[in-house]
Symmetry: C2
Subunit: 465 residues, 2 copies
């Protein structure tokens, strides 16, 4: 039987410990953290430990016509790593070596299974900084970060994952190894294949190594927290900070629903007082006089915009606590039910309108919607809370999820700022990029993966009816 | 006759004033600034004034099987805009409107024919900054900057063109209009087509509009100039500045040949004294205490590395003068003959080795080679001076050009840091990216431009033997 032949070949290449078919094990690799995306049952889950083994898996699956779904830690929020029936899930977590840290040239070479936090820690010992910091940074892998072009809280000053990548090793659909990019800071030899693969969500190849650019480790940050009586006032503050040319190292917003949830969860006051509609959290890591000047300017802008309270601190612990509160929103919401987090990015001037739209949608569907987000980028994560045991609430949550995307598009935004399209926003991608955009995507997919080996069903349907 | 039919159609679409066939006129559009690249005689040179007119040109040429070479100002240094025999050169200089400056969202929408300096000036009035600053910034166009992913002096702090682009309008080979990217700061909906077209040298489509991200206008810069007795000492200083985590807004190096040429040309002393092997020019635009701290650190590192002289100034005019001297190198070399400027980028720790290799190559070919470059990025422009009337000198110049690329590759570098591959480094691209890389390039080209309509002969041969 052909399946047996494939498994035999995979075991020969990876060893018995590298190939799992026991449903008790494979069930854990069927899906990521996005509850709305479809998923199937994999034929096998494999754990290659080298580029050579990835090539073996790719060649074997290609010959047997078995699709491959690449996967990192499974922290994704778009279903991009969700299995399809009968696929091989290729998990990169055992390829977790930091191959090299070249401090003099400020770069590192890593395998895809390295956990984001581990890379951050390793380079910090050299006084260096790897900026991308998605919320799951303590367990997500660099491979997943590359596949989704992950963002995080740092982006307002330091950009997203693609801005930190110099080159990649990618196993293509024919099993050949493609090397993109270079070890130099600049380079324009050929098409920018590196940035084509970053964010391609595992649909074009399997990344087996990355050369990433590092920055000097920033100074310990100072923090401003400001509480606003209306979302409009908070939105005005964000726009003015951008307009005034202040570039904080972090600028996060939390709405009243998020604030209340976190205060209950952490049993602490965020200093927002009662009736606070929005909290703005800004940091500067510029150090010294520069940081003081930036934060003073931000505090003043917040007060001018109508903040009821604004407070600046250079106390590291206090700043950390405020950041912990921001990062705790999703967990805090779990008291009320399951959460479904959305991801839209709008022009920075239109954050208020998005928050207001979420409030309206919340009322319409009768579900709690908490809005948190990276205000400095306009990248918001409205999060819908629902009872997972109620089919009706789940249906309403889905509706809210879609309505929020509608609102984002109507405000001139995009349907995904950093989580990706995956298997949950395919129709939305088509709407956003239009028929010519979709045709161009299909042409590139057909050029690089003509047999549709990689991550079928993610992003878009490669073969239109 | 089919040519007449095409010209008739082009004139109908663009008007008589938009289509030129007079050889006296078309001759000026045969080539860019790279003397080594081949060029041919165009059938016609056309000047569309709108995206719709570009679409008309593309459809007409596609139907008649006549290749198109897109072209901006012609300031390129790789022959990417050089005509091929019988082609239509599509010049974008009449599409030169700054469509929109959205200061609140820090972005601008521009047509490809806008001159870099004009965009810089227009956004500066809003307190904003468009960073990419290739040496030809006072006459090159944004379209050309996008096509080559142009760099400049700013890159060490602000990155290259691709880092400032949010979205593009591109006319594809079938005449359809593709919109890539978005107006938001972040976004991961689909493949990063924007960054695929940036740097594709006109081989995949014609960019007719770009949305670019702007930054806050930096502070007036302070400047450090340091003179070194050996290139090794200068190289050590560069490495240490990078290693210490100082990020200047500019870090340029000039070797002794460049210094002598500029001093003669400007009839001024650069403060380098006699026997100076290298001059390092650094700026900080961080303002206030931050700039003072950065420049003090740089000055101290230079002195520790063995600089014979280091001088810091916050005088704007003096800083400007030093920058003018750096920018004058190519013009200064014209006293000695024609120049041929190369473009290699090496890891920042290996600049000294590259300069030394250039000195060796200069001796071997018996021609003057001046090395200037963006030291902070490792992106060097060794410039060979030769007598254009001497076939022998031209041959030796070509050899030096190639030997410098060899040296760059051997040092772990790339054959082009910012000028591009064009029609002069095709063989070098193939060497650098290897057969799998080349195959991948061809697959993408075939997917987006199956009829090889755009810029045939640039970058790589799309149809291998």
């Amino acid at each position: 039987m052909t399946t047996d032949a494939l498994l035999t070949r995979l075991r020969a290449a990876l060893g018995d410990g590298g190939v799992h078919v026991d449903p008790d094990i494979t069930a854990g690799y069927r899906r990521d953290m996005m509850p709305l995306a479809p998923f199937g049952d994999p034929l096998a889950v494999v754990f290659p430990e080298s580029t050579g083994q990835v090539q073996e898996v790719v060649r074997a699956c290609a010959e047997h016509g078995v699709p491959i779904v690449p996967r990192g830690a499974g922290s994704g929020l778009s279903g991009a790593a969700n299995a399809v029936d009968g696929c091989v899930v290729l998990v990169t977590t055992r390829m977790n070596r930091i191959v090299e840290i070249d401090a003099d040239n400020r770069l590192a070479v890593v395998e895809p299974g390295v956990v984001n936090l581990d890379l951050r820690g390793a380079v910090e010992e050299h006084g260096l900084f790897y900026p991308p910091d998605p919320s799951s940074y303590d367990w997500c892998t660099i491979g997943g970060n590359l596949a989704t072009n992950a963002g995080g809280l740092c982006c307002v000053k330091y950009g997203v994952t693609t801005d930190s990548v110099l080159g990649l090793d990618v196993v293509l659909a024919d099993g050949e190894l493609l090397r993109t990019g270079r070890r130099t800071v600049k380079g324009v030899a050929g098409y920018d294949l590196t940035k084509l693969f970053v964010g391609s969500e595992g649909t074009l190849g399997v990344i087996t190594r990355a050369t990433v650019a590092l920055r000097p480790l920033p100074q310990a940050p100072g923090t401003v927290v400001a509480a606003f009586g209306t979302t409009a006032a908070a939105g005005t503050a964000v726009s003015r900070i951008v307009r005034e040319g202040v570039v904080p190292s972090l600028m996060e917003i939390m709405d009243s629903v998020s604030i209340a949830a976190v205060e209950a969860h952490l049993k602490t006051e965020l200093g927002a007082g009662g009736g606070c509609a929005a909290l703005l959290l800004c940091q500067s890591d510029s150090g010294g006089e520069a940081a003081r000047a930036e934060l003073a300017k931000i505090e003043q802008i917040c007060l001018d915009a109508g903040a009821e309270l604004a407070h600046t601190t250079f106390d590291i612990a206090e700043g950390q606590l405020l950041l912990t509160a921001r990062r705790a929103v999703l967990m805090a919401l779990e008291v009320y039910g399951a959460w479904l987090t959305d991801d839209v990015c709008v022009p920075r001037t239109r954050i208020t309108e998005l928050i207001d739209a979420c409030e309206r949608i919340s009322a319409e569907v009768g579900l709690r919607v908490a809005v948190v987000g990276h205000a400095g980028d306009g990248n918001m994560h409205p999060t819908i809370v629902y009872d997972p045991a109620s089919e009706d609430e789940f249906t309403r949550a889905r509706r809210a999820f879609a309505d929020i995307l509608d609102a984002g598009l109507a405000l001139g935004g995009t349907v995904t700022g950093e989580h990706g399209v995956g298997k949950v926003k395919r129709e939305w991608l088509a709407r956003e990029i239009g028929p010519v955009g979709l045709r161009t995507h299909r042409a590139i997919k057909a050029a690089l993966d003509p047999g549709n080996l990689f991550n079928l069903g993610s992003m878009f349907d490669p073969d239109p009816a």
